[in-house]
């Protein structure tokens, strides 16, 4: 069996989507001439000719030794190292990385050239590499997006400090544009992790408090999956954000009533209420959203409300209509999943307007009209209705971007983040039609810019009443046996007690280990490490552990951010991990102390619902 057939067999198992690249004709925008030559040591070296220039991708003398020297520079022995590499080459460098990598590591490789991929699959035996479960491969210039999704899902704050990024020799010179794109994707991926970790740390206490307060509402609520795919596809959604341009066309919305799903972001509700413009539902996701955005307008209390369990509890408390849970809370997600109620994958994008757009997508809507989504200042205005909402250190993040009229408009860093989110969403979903009817602000590349009146005329053509639609769907608990799920919620009472008890026990073990240092006997040393492991496993299995972990998340971005780093000194590494365990245990005890009363209060309320 030749190399190609052998490689294909493994590809079929692990990367079936790449098989077609090997079967069809590959059109090359920039033709490459590829050659495998024999190096002096008998190994094979890859040479690529592009625009008359030869690029040597391996040593012509000893490719194996070269790869070993190259790989030596990377720290691959930390816990759960995520490595990201640009360029597959003939696999020699990849093999060397895998050789040095621990079992729990992972290597994500982007090969920008389909032609080069196809060539090396014919020329070299890749079966070992392709079979290695730590290895992940993305081929083609547009493959970075898939990389971002896969690797991004794995990355967290603790993995950032041990992340390895590398470029196959010669690839930068050969594929400069793809190289730039690779780094852009990596930067963005890391930005998301950092932003998320910092946001989680800042909002964690608030989010946990919200989850506990919101528990009693579970009984009368629905969750998003129950609504998915049930709205006729020809019905468009109108996402009403509160950017300054909303003042220009808010009145036009009246023409869309009853012919679209009008989703009011929490920030836009007061503007709609003041103008007495009807909308179909509200969405709120921010754990710290000031409640007065809604509570000052009693008219909105009965509107269906999309929220997640971490959303501001005072808003949920004020609201009397149907509540529909969105994804976004780890606790609720785990609780529902265990009982067979599955939430869809979800990327909320960071603002309530992006979350509203995602809500429309989850509901199966393909034509989404945005209004008030300026993502830019209008003069100095940040929001409609003369309202200003500024962010910390705003001046430092101000930049100019392309406006919808081809001009340059002033924006700020959080809006740039949302702008990119929309653009990536559109890049990934070719059938999605996002109509930017904001009539001002930044241009969302990939969207269709229209006046709202024109968009309504074109898309809002079928009658649709969301109130009727939601009225026909009973709360989840009415048609399902929710008793086991309630029992799990009630189980948190015991879970919190268990966590405190075991964390205090773990603290004692860790203190003893640290205090005794080198003086500890071998038997006691092994016993304590075993007890710590047992305590960790026990704690992680308790009901409500997600909330306790969240409540201690400030530790993860502070004292424990290097928790995965290995120094190479086994003794020191062991001591560091016990010190980390001590910090975590103390964090768990503090967290239980902080939120236990609220849990008991909430569970009591639940029992009375």
């Amino acid at each position: 069996m030749g190399y190609l057939e052998r490689n294909k067999d493994v590809l079929q198992e692990r990367f079936p989507e790449l098989i077609e690249l090997l079967d069809g004709e590959i059109s090359q925008e920039e033709p490459l001439e590829m050659e495998c030559m024999e190096a002096r040591d008998g190994q094979r070296a890859l040479v690529v000719k592009k625009e008359e220039k030869k690029h040597r991708l391996n040593s012509a003398y000893r490719p194996g030794q070269e790869a070993a020297k190259w790989a030596e520079q990377f720290e691959l022995n930390n816990i759960g190292v995520i490595s990201l590499m640009f360029g597959l080459g003939n696999g020699i460098f990849v093999k060397e990385l895998l050789k040095h990598m621990e079992k729990d590591g992972s290597l994500y490789v982007v090969e920008p050239s389909k032609a080069l991929f196809s060539f090396v699959m014919e020329q070299e035996d890749f079966s070992d590499i392709l079979e290695d479960k730590r290895f992940h491969l993305y081929v083609g210039e547009d493959s970075e997006q898939a990389l971002k999704e896969d690797a991004g899902a794995l990355m967290n704050w603790n993995s950032l400090s041990t992340q390895v990024t590398c470029v196959h020799p010669g690839y930068r010179e050969l594929f400069q544009d793809a190289y730039d794109k690779f780094w852009d994707v990596l930067d963005r991926m890391n930005d998301i992790v950092i932003t998320k970790a910092n946001t989680n740390a800042v909002f964690a206490d608030r989010a946990v408090e919200n989850v506990l307060h919101n528990l009693p509402y579970i009984k009368e609520s629905n969750y998003i999956t129950e609504l998915m795919g049930k709205i006729p596809t020809e019905v468009p959604a109108i996402v009403v954000a509160a950017g300054p341009s909303l003042d220009k066309n808010i009145d036009e919305l009246k023409k869309a009533q009853g012919r679209a799903l009008i989703i009011a972001t929490d920030t836009a509700v007061r503007l709609l209420e003041k103008k007495e413009i009807k909308y179909d539902c509200i969405i709120t996701v921010d754990p710290g959203k000031p409640a007065w955005y809604l509570t000052d307008y009693p008219g909105c209390a009965d509107m269906p409300l999309f929220l997640n369990a971490e959303s501001q509890w005072e808003i949920a408390n004020f609201h009397k209509g149907r509540k529909i849970w969105m994804p976004g809370s780890v606790y609720l997600h785990n609780l529902y999943t265990i009982h067979g109620y599955n939430f869809p994958p979800y990327n909320a994008g960071g603002s309530v307007a992006t979350a509203a757009t995602m809500l429309a997508i989850l509901l199966g809507i393909r034509n989404i009209i945005l209004i008030g989504q300026d993502l830019a200042y209008e003069g100095d205005k940040t929001h409609a209705g003369g309202f200003e909402d500024h962010i910390r250190n705003e001046e430092a993040g101000i930049k100019m971007v392309e406006g919808i009229y081809g001009d340059q408009v002033r924006t700020r860093r959080d809006w740039v983040f949302f702008l990119k989110w929309y653009e990536e969403l559109l890049e990934q979903n070719e059938t999605l039609n996002v109509i930017d009817a904001t009539e001002g602000g930044a241009l969302i590349h990939g969207s269709k810019v229209m006046k709202l009146s024109d968009a309504i005329e074109e898309y809002c053509v079928e009658d649709f009443l969301f109130s009727k639609f939601i009225g026909e769907i009973p709360p989840t608990s009415e048609e399902n046996d929710f008793e086991p799920l309630y029992q799990d919620i009630m189980g948190m009472k015991k879970g919190f007690r268990n966590i405190r008890y075991k964390a205090e026990e773990g603290l004692k073990y860790a203190e003893e280990f640290i205090k005794k240092g080198d003086a500890i006997t071998a038997k006691r040393h092994d016993r304590i490490l075993k007890d710590i492991r047992k305590a960790n496993n026990f704690i992680a299995r308790q009901y409500g552990f997600e909330l306790i972990e969240m409540s201690s998340s400030e530790l993860a971005v502070g004292e424990l951010k290097d928790i995965n780093r290995i120094t190479g000194d086994a003794k020191l590494d062991e001591m560091n991990s016990v010190k980390s365990a001590r910090t975590l245990y103390q964090g768990f005890v503090d967290a239980v102390d902080k939120i236990e009363d609220l849990l008991l209060e909430s569970l009591a309320k639940m029992e009375n619902v």
Binding site: K54, R56, N58, S59, A60, E66, K69, Q73, V167, G170
Partner: protein
């Protein structure tokens, strides 16, 4: 060990370290260091000639040394850094190492 031989051994080690930077794609660092190394490499060649003049039993292939250095310089001009490292490491250093073994 003569001072010349010690100089040769130390400098060859430095050249190898420098080539490692080329193999590790640390381009800027590698080139900066190589610039400094060039004078030391030329001094090594001078030492070889002087040593040969002073020792009848010692001889070497001048052409081989000249060719390896020329090839390295050409590769440098063409920006082929892997070839720079290859020729320095596997032509120049390996051969000079053999000669150093023959020196007293």
């Amino acid at each position: 060990m003569s001072e010349e031989k010690k100089y040769m051994i130390d400098t060859l080690k430095e050249v190898q370290d420098n080539m490692e930077l080329f193999y590790q794609q640390k381009k800027l660092e590698a080139l900066n260091q190589f610039q400094v190394m060039l004078n030391k490499i030329l001094k090594m060649v001078d030492i070889l000639f002087t040593y040969r003049d002073e020792n009848d039993s010692f001889s070497f292939d001048e052409k081989k040394i000249q060719e390896s250095l020329t090839l390295s310089m050409q590769a440098l001009e063409e920006g082929d850094l892997i070839l720079v490292a290859d020729t320095m490491q596997y032509e120049f250093v390996e051969y000079v190492n053999q000669l150093v073994d023959l020196m007293e």
